[in-house]
Amino acid sequence: MEKPISDNAGSQEAICESRRDFLYTCSLAAPLLLLALQAKLVCAFAASEPAYNPREHRYGMGIDVSRCIGCGRCVDACKNENDVPREPFYFRTWVERYVINSAGDTSVDSPNGGISGFPATSSERGILRTFFVPKLCNQCDDPPCVQVCPVGATFATEDGVVLVDRDYCICCRYCVQACPYGARFIDPRTRTADKCTFCYHRVTRGLLPACVEVCPTGARVFGDIKQRSSPLARFTRFHKIHTLKPHMNTKPKVYYADLDEEVR
């Protein structure tokens, strides 16, 4: 009985010695270990750096009404980029023509959203002033469409863009009714609500929205509201800005320069 115990005690002593050794070696290796850990952390950070962080952005669009020539290229590009149905009445962006006559009456038309230009006005007689106004989702800071959605299928992202979750939308059309700007429609193929996303898939990759990309006169300006130096910040510094239906308290992020009182 005794022998094994003494044997045990002997082996325990040996382990103790080796443990001391082990700890000593460990303390020597500790800086190395830390270095390795740090290298791994740095690697992880470097990998996550180009990843898109929505909290660093807040997008908005500026529209210079006095530069719009009503060519409808933005409408065409939007339909191409976002696979919007080609038939009339489905628009994420569209161009309206305002004609105000000497009597003060305003007529607005937007044949097929302006995608193939505008037919000549029947006569120039009696026109007081006339101009084009591009329209799109105003990406409100306080969006009524998000408020009314019963299932949380439409929402404002952290960078201020209002999006629609196609897989979650139940097509109740509350949001279409709630939008004061008429910016939403029901996609006839998927039976879900759809609207302008500021080309979210493009802007998060560092590209411009398709409509801004193709605007030939620079009537559309896109940028970050948070940045002090962005094309949009410059636009809002040098123009008198108006938003659509400010009395609705929706706080739109589409800023119009040179907007006429008649535009709703």
Binding site: T157, D167, H201, L207, P216
Partner: protein, 242 residues
């Protein structure tokens, strides 16, 4: 514990368990991560394909045309405005050739006269402007030339020239109303062209007893407009129709 209370507790436990299981099954995994929505939907939208490559992409291969285009009047017009979405073309250039609009109907989308367009934007009347000819026979779309009517003044006074070109006064030379010293072209700020100073000047054509062609609108200088000079109500470079 009374029997009925034990039963009630069992029922309550079953209901609670059912609720938890149902919620777990019905509510999507990422719902509520960032707000009252499915966070995965943002990723889905972010991953949608890009169709327009952006204007920087073209310069990689077509440096010559991009260079020419970048100096001309169409420099603000992105390549993809006329040639269409180019993302597929950048990936497989040969398989996905881009169209180039060559028809006469295309350019008037921007340059056809429309009173709603901003004043001074270069426009033509597609009916009367060299009918039937495709625009590209005279104009290089990558570096279009400004209009030559009227040739000399329009070089500096482009906005006025372009406005006048589509107005009722299109055929009048600038010098009809502005006597211009030759030296104005050399030292424009020292020697100014003159401007009409009185109503009688416009009356040479528009007075009711003027000897001008019949289709020119007439007024009675003695009664029309009262104390105002003509150009205080009418813009001579784009007089209104009625």
């Amino acid at each position: 514990m009374p029997q009925q209370l034990a039963r009630l507790l069992v029922v309550f436990a079953v209901l609670t368990g059912g609720l938890v299981v149902t919620r777990h099954l019905l509510i999507p995994k990422t719902f509520g991560q960032r707000g009252h929505y499915r966070a995965a939907a943002v990723t889905t939208i972010q991953e949608l394909p890009v169709r327009y490559a952006g204007r920087e992409a073209c310069a990689d291969c077509h440096a010559d045309i991009v260079g020419l285009h970048g100096k001309g009047r169409h420099q603000t017009v992105s390549c993809e405005v006329c040639h269409g979405p180019a993302a597929a073309h950048t990936l497989a250039p040969v398989e996905n050739q881009l169209p180039a609009p060559r028809k006469r109907a295309y350019c008037p989308l921007c340059h056809g006269y429309d009173p709603s367009r901003p004043t001074g934007f270069p426009q033509i009347d597609p009916v009367s402007h060299n009918p039937m000819k495709p625009c590209i026979t005279c104009h290089n779309p990558h570096q279009p030339e400004p209009p030559h009517v009227p040739e000399e003044c329009g070089a500096c006074h482009g906005e006025i020239a372009r406005t006048k070109a589509v107005s009722r006064h299109a055929l009048l030379p600038c010098t009809q109303c502005h006597k211009t010293p030759v030296q104005h072209k050399v030292t424009p700020r020292l020697l100014h062209p003159d401007k009409p100073r009185n109503r009688e000047f416009c009356g040479q054509c528009h007075a009711k007893d003027a000897g001008s062609p019949r289709e020119i609108p007439r007024i009675d200088l003695a009664t029309h407009g009262g104390r105002y000079l003509c150009w205080q109500c009418h813009y001579p470079h784009m007089p209104e129709v009625d």
